[in-house]
Structure formats: C-alpha cells, structure tokens
C-alpha cells in the first residue's frame, strides 16, 4: 500500500494554549489506503492534533493539504464534507436517543429516518459490525456504541477515518473484528489515522507510525519492523523498569462478597448480578472488563455508596453491607473511584480539604464534629511528599493539578490510611508512564504490607503485571477469579464476554 498517493499532508502545525504548547511544528503525510498510527503518551498532543484535522480547533500556524488542495476546516461539518470522519473515544453519543438518531446527528444531510435505518442495517452488516437502528444507545455495550460511531462515519464515505483509542472499550475478540473492518476499509482506499498507545496493536494493524512526544514529532517508522519495547522507548523517551514484586505469603480472607446484586444508580448503568469474591490479605485481585459492564457500580457497592444487606459484604469477618462509606472506612476499606475530578476529589476544594474528604475517619482529622485543619494539612503534606505529587502547595484547588498528579494524590490519600482492604478503579487511566509505574509500585507495596487489594482496570497488561488472581466483569456478572499464572489472552477474552451484542441485529448466529 505504500507508494499510494498522499491524501493528507500536514506541514508545521502549531497550536499553543496558555501555559502549554500542545503541538509544535507537526508535519507528516497520510496516504490513501494506509493505516497510519499516531503514537504518544497522554499529553503528547495527539488529541489536539486530531481536533485540528477534524475542525474542532484551529491551528495557530502551519497548513494542511487534502489531496493536494489547501484544507483548513473551520468546523467539523466542513471536515465531514471534505471526507474526514472521526470516531471519538468519549463524548459523542446521546444515550437517550436511538442509533438512527445518533447517526443522523453526525451527518450533514441525512436521508429520511426509514431510509437511514435501512442504510445503517446494510452498511453495518457489510462491514461486520451489525447494529439495530431502533435501539436506544444508552442500552448498548461499549463495543456496540463504538460501532454506532464507526457506521456513522462510514455512511458518509470518508476518505480519512480518524480513530481515537478505538480498542480501549473492546474485548480481544472484538478487537479482531474491528481490525478486519479496518483492513477492509483500507483495501477500499480509505486512509485511517489510528491513535493509540497500545503498541502490540499498532504493530499488528498499522502500516506507518508517527510518534509524538511533548507536542513534537520525534520519530516515524514502520511499526512491524520495530519491537514493542523500541516503540515504547521512542514514545516515552526513557527506559522503563517494570515494578518489582516482592513475594509475600497470603494471609486470611480480608474481604468477602457473597451474592451481591444491586440495580445501577447511574442512568443506563449496569446492574450487578450475584457477585461473589474473596480477597486475602496480601493478595491483588485484578478485575478486567470492557467499560460499562458494571465496574463503576461494583466500586460503589464495595465502598458503601450503594448499600446492601449486612451479611453480603464482610471485612475481616465483620458484616458491613448495610454501612455507608464512613462505616466501611472505619472497618478498614478504602476506595479510589475512576473519575478523579468530581467523584474522588472535589474540583474546587483545596488539597487539604480533599484530604479531609476521605481521610477524616481513619486519620482522625475530626474531633467532636470539628475539623482539625492543622492535622488535615499535615496529612495532605504527607501525601504530597510520599507520592511525589507536583503542586505548589496544599492550598491549591484540586482542579489545578494535572490528571496524573491528581491521580497520585487520590491514590496516595487512600493508600496512606493504613487500610485492610483497598479498591481501586482504573488506577493509571490517563496517567503518563512514569507516574503509572510509581502508582503500580505503591499498590504492590501495600499488598506486601498485608492489605487485600482489588484493582479494576480496562488495561489488561496492567492487570497481568500486578494481579495475583484475575476475574472479569461482563454485563454485571463477575467470573470466578483464577490465578493469573498460565492465563492466555484467548481465555481472558472469553471471560470478558467474547463479542458483545452480535445477536442483537443478526438474530441467533
């Protein structure tokens, strides 16, 4: 496919935001019919670049050529008209609306609904991504939601399809299907700009790769000719060491969940169905699953935001299912939710105040109802010191911290409470490689010190690296936990539910 004509040429693209230069002098070429990887860590400038191509952001300098002609989209509609489509990672679907309505919203001149529905059916089956146009999007699985976005783009015959982290919401089996679709599209001459930080995937599917670091192009290569390690080092710029794993004997059962079922408090959420698990002191249980299969609900049920009958959740043999978050913290369970800003931390409150938020009980920051602000500040300082949180001080609003630093603060706050049980959802989501490594190390250190730990994550590599045993959430069910040693990717994929929603539009396969 190399040697085909240049479809999109970028020259010297630059975009600065107050305080950061997101993109600086970016230039590379995407050819028709190629799958071109855009590789880089969080914050490397991938999403700003893509937004410029899609017309959501205007470059400060530089130019773009599409098929040799000047291309300067002022809004997404212009980009779509020029044949550029984009599949978003988040934030572009409307939960309460049907598939067909969602597709129509992404098109310039959609045909009448009935016709559109027929087109959706035809195109989706043609590309192996079956969809029922009449279903409400909020009821779909993460993989199906992605299909909606892809089909929405395909209906407009794009010449360039931008895909932002497409596999983060898919099981391994679903990834295979997606790759088949992408190859078919490439063979038909569509160029694909594939954004990811998953190196094996890029080696499998991409013809070319452009690597960004701190807003600049630092390398280009043919991924299949490089090892994943080489790619990683180009991306990060340093050599990484995997976390050390001190072998420690496992203790008694610290957390036990017996048949937990709960409806979801989240609109279009997933109900938990008869969850059973137990974690021993010193053990790390990794829970995998595609987004939206009950991860958020599981965390809420474990940390007490969702309550249940008292016997269903036990900590060190004590029944605490009926207790709320405060009662459970008292019993020794701490939790770090996925969403840092707004759930784990209050954006407009200072770090000291955020330290009180969950540390009040175990760190005894409150006496007879009154808050001891001195102790609270000392606690916040301790977290900042021990977890290397980069901040000007403790009296800074949480929203002022970068994602990675806030994550270190939140995880640090929970880990510093001498807990018996720790539940963490997506510990390293959106965090750069160095910070992610230090968070994983901190988790393992706590396990070595005798805490029972549950890590919920969509990053399989991460789970396989730090977990002793492994389970998967699939539509609110939790599989039987199995030891990590000896698990294959195939088995993991099946535990995660194989391929979701294929029956929905196809009928029984």
């Amino acid at each position: 496919m190399t040697g085909a004509r240049a479809l999109l040429q970028l020259e010297g693209l630059t975009k600065a935001y107050p305080g950061v230069v997101a993109n600086s002098g970016i230039g590379f070429t995407i050819r028709a019919g190629e799958v071109h990887a855009l590789l880089g860590e969080n914050g490397a400038g991938k999403s700003t670049l893509v937004k410029m191509i899609y017309g959501l952001v205007r470059p400060d300098a530089g130019r773009m050529l599409l098929n040799g002609a000047d291309y300067a989209p002022d809004r997404p509609a212009t980009a779509r008209k020029a044949g550029v489509g984009m599949v978003f990672q988040h934030f572009s679907l409307f939960d309460a609306m049907t598939v067909a309505e969602n597709v129509a919203l992404g098109m310039e001149l959609p045909p009448p609904m009935r016709e559109l529905a027929a087109q959706i059916r035809a195109t989706s089956i043609n590309y192996g991504l079956p969809l029922d146009p009449d279903r409400i999007v909020g009821d779909l699985s993460a993989g199906e939601r992605q299909r909606v976005e892809i089909v929405r783009c395909l209906l407009q015959d794009p010449r360039l399809l931008i895909m932002d982290e497409p596999t983060s919401v898919l099981t391994p089996q679903e990834v295979d299907i997606l790759f088949r679709t992408l190859r078919k599209l490439a063979a038909e001459g569509t160029a694909i700009l594939y954004i990811s930080h998953k190196l094996e995937e890029i080696r499998t599917i991409c013809d070319h790769a452009t690597i960004l670091r701190r807003g600049k192009v630092v390398a280009t290569c043919t991924p299949a000719e490089r090892t994943a390690r080489e790619l990683a080092e180009m991306m990060v710029g340093t050599v990484l060491t995997p976390p050390a794993r001190p072998a420690a004997p496992k203790g008694d059962i610290a957390l036990e969940v017996n048949g937990l079922s709960a409806p979801s408090p989240i609109p279009f959420g997933t109900a938990l169905k008869n969850i059973r698990l137990s974690v021993r002191a010193g053990e790390v249980l990794g829970i995998a699953g595609v987004a939206g299969n009950g991860q958020d609900e599981l965390l809420l049920a474990l940390n007490g935001e969702l309550r249940c009958a008292s016997d269903i959740v036990r900590i060190n043999g004590k029944s605490i299912g009926h207790r709320g978050p405060r009662g459970r913290r008292h019993a020794g369970l701490v939790a770090a939710p996925e969403e840092r800003l707004g759930h784990a931390a209050a954006p407009d409150m200072t770090l000291t105040e955020n330290a009180v938020l969950s540390g009040a009980q175990r760190r005894k920051l409150v006496r007879r109802g009154f808050i001891d602000w001195r102790r609270a500040r000392t606690f916040a300082e301790e977290i900042i010191r021990e977890f290397d949180v980069r901040t000007p001080g403790t009296e800074v609003a949480a929203r002022a911290l970068s994602g990675g630093n806030l994550q270190k603060f939140v995880v640090g706050r929970e880990l510093s409470q001498d807990p018996a049980v720790i539940v963490i959802n997506q510990p390293t989501w959106g965090v750069d490689a160095a910070a992610a490594a230090s968070i994983r190390q901190a988790i393992l250190d706590r396990a070595a010190a005798g805490a029972a730990i549950i890590v919920i994550s969509q990053d399989l590599d991460e789970l396989l690296e730090i977990a002793d045993s492994f389970a998967a959430l699939n539509e609110g069910h939790l599989t039987e936990p199995r030891p990590v040693a000896g698990l294959t990717v195939e088995q993991i994929g099946l535990m995660m539910g194989g391929v979701h929603g294929m029956e929905a539009a196809n009928g029984p396969a």
């Binding site: 952001v57 934030f91 572009s92 679907l93 409307f94 309460a96 609306m97 129509a104 919203l105 959609p110």
Partner: protein
C-alpha cells in the same frame, strides 16, 4: 347541565380560556428545558409580557400588536437570562430567580398609572360549522384567535421536536452538550435561541392574562402562573401534548374554584384560592413518585456548558 349552580359547558369553555397563559408559558419552557436549560424566570417573563402587552395594546388600540409587544418583552428579559447563563456562565437557578424578582419589580414600575383601564377587546372567532357542534362547539371552537393559536403551537412544538432535524439537534444539545459540541453543533447559539423562544412564549402567555383573561392591569397579575407552568413541564414529562393536559387540569381547578366562590360555596374563599397551588403540589408528588426517575428529563438539564480546549 347544571351542577350546584354551575353550568358545565360554560365552565369547560372558561377552562380552555383560563389554561391558555400557562399553556403558552409551559410550551416555551418545555423547549428551553429540552435544550438543557432550566429557566426559573417564567413568572418574571410572563408578568413583563403582561404589562408590556397591555400598554402596547392600549396605546395602539390593537390587541394583536399588544401580543407581539408581550412576546418581544418576554424575549428581551429572556435575553438577559441567556446572556447571564450562556455567555457569563452564571448559575441557572439563581439567574432564573433574579429574572422573576426583577420582572415583578419592573412590571409594577411600568404598570403605574395603567390600573383600572380596559384594554381593546379581542373578539371571539367562532370557527364556522365547528362551533355548532353540541358541547364541543362552545367548549373548543368558539374562542378568540389566541386559543386556536395555542392549540396550533402545541402541535407545532410536537412536530418540530419529534419530526424535524432542528428538533433532533435541539434535543441532542439538551441530552449531552459535550457530544453535540464534539459533533460541531453550536451549543450556546442553539440554547440561546431556545431561551428566546421560551421568553416570547411566556411573554405572550402573560399578555393573554392582562388582555383577555382578566382583562386589565394590576400588580402581580400573574400570581404564580409562571411557577405552575414550570410544574406542568415536569408533570408533562417533557411531552407537548401532556403540557396541554396539564394546562387544562390547572385551568379547570382555577376556574372551578372561582365558580365555587361565585356560587357562594361554604368553603372559605382563602382555602378555595389556595387550592390550585395545593393541587399542583399534589400532582407533582404523584408524578415524581410514580416511576423511578423523572422520565424524559433531558440529561444535561441545568448544567453549565463551557467548551474547554
């Protein structure tokens, strides 16, 4: 057809008229809320519409121009709300309250010296043979043009929201402003347009009170109709035809209590006059307790949108 000295057909016909102001205001607010904005200033916009509509109608001698004036006045006040919430990102609840407090003060200021005047008459326009149908004729088809216009608006709002692309986009913006923004829709502009429409509708509803329903100007003439319109939107689960139902229900109660007062009921006047509010509360409770969530409420209702990066 008389019960306790009250003629049922007259009662029903009056009910239709009494429900027009809240019907208009609630329809407007429904569109606003569908776009994801909660404007609690309906009462303020209505009363400004009532006073300006009245003054304009008296000055020009033409009630139609009066209604236009009411609509413009309501929209002008709504523009202040749009500026505050969409451009200056102020809290929607507080801004809506400010609108109501300001509207009440300003209306009574403007209305000074206009008390006790009768506005130009708006005639009933019986709809030919339709008005001769027994019962339905006098109840539905023997009214002024605004009544028919309000029916038409119910259909129009339903049609636009359900069947047109503009309606689809409006609902999308209310459902998720982030997603709509990512697809390139101008969230702020769409919401501002909806807010202005809501203001114009509330203004016309208010003008109907001072020009036809009462018809004269007194301070505080809307007496909570704007709040009841807000309640009706919730009652209606954000569906236009159920707004009609809600407006009729409330119109019925207020007409019935007035008839009971006039018929010399033994229930004290004060209790009769509080009944519409009490019943509105009861209906709200009934609706909100019925099914799990407030069905049909736009997901991003009341949230501030600021496009970052």
């Amino acid at each position: 057809m008389d019960i306790g000295g009250i003629n049922i057909i007259t009662l029903l016909a009056t009910l239709i008229v009494a429900s027009v102001p809240i019907l208009m205001a609630a329809l407007g607010e429904l569109v606003v809320e569908k776009s994801g904005v909660l404007n609690l200033g309906v009462e303020g916009m209505m009363i400004i519409g009532a006073v300006i509509g009245f003054v304009v109608a008296v000055q020009t001698g033409n009630p139609v121009i009066g209604f236009l004036g009411g609509a413009v006045a309501g929209a002008a006040l709504a523009a202040v709300f749009a500026l505050l919430t969409q451009v200056l990102l102020a809290n929607q609840v507080a801004s809506g309250l400010a609108l109501t407090l300001f509207g009440l003060g300003l209306s009574s200021l403007i209305g000074q010296g206009w008390n006790g005047i009768r506005p130009p008459l708006t005639r009933d326009v019986p709809l030919g043979p339709l008005s001769d149908i027994p019962v339905l004729g006098p109840v539905l088809f023997s009214h002024d043009w605004m009544v028919y216009a309000s029916f038409a608006l119910v259909v129009a709002v339903w049609w636009v929201l359900r069947r047109t692309r503009a309606g689809l986009i409006l609902r999308a913006v209310g459902e998720s402003h982030d997603a709509a923004h990512a697809l390139g829709y101008k969230v702020r502009r769409i919401r501002m347009a909806a807010i202005l429409f809501g203001g114009a509708m509330a203004g016309m509803g208010g003008a109907y009170i001072s020009l036809i329903r009462v018809p004269q100007w007194t301070d505080g003439i809307t007496s909570g109709a704007g709040w009841i319109a807000l309640a009706i939107v919730v009652f209606a689960s954000w569906k236009p035809w159920r707004v009609l139902l809600g407006a009729w229900l409330f119109g019925g109660i207020s007409v019935l209590q007035l008839s009971l007062q006039a018929a010399g009921s033994r229930i004290p006047v004060e209790y009769l006059s509080m009944s519409p509010y009490v019943i509105t509360i009861l209906v709200l409770v009934f609706i909100s307790s019925g099914r799990g969530r407030a069905m049909g409420a736009p997901a991003d209702l009341g949230k501030t949108f600021h496009a970052s990066r």
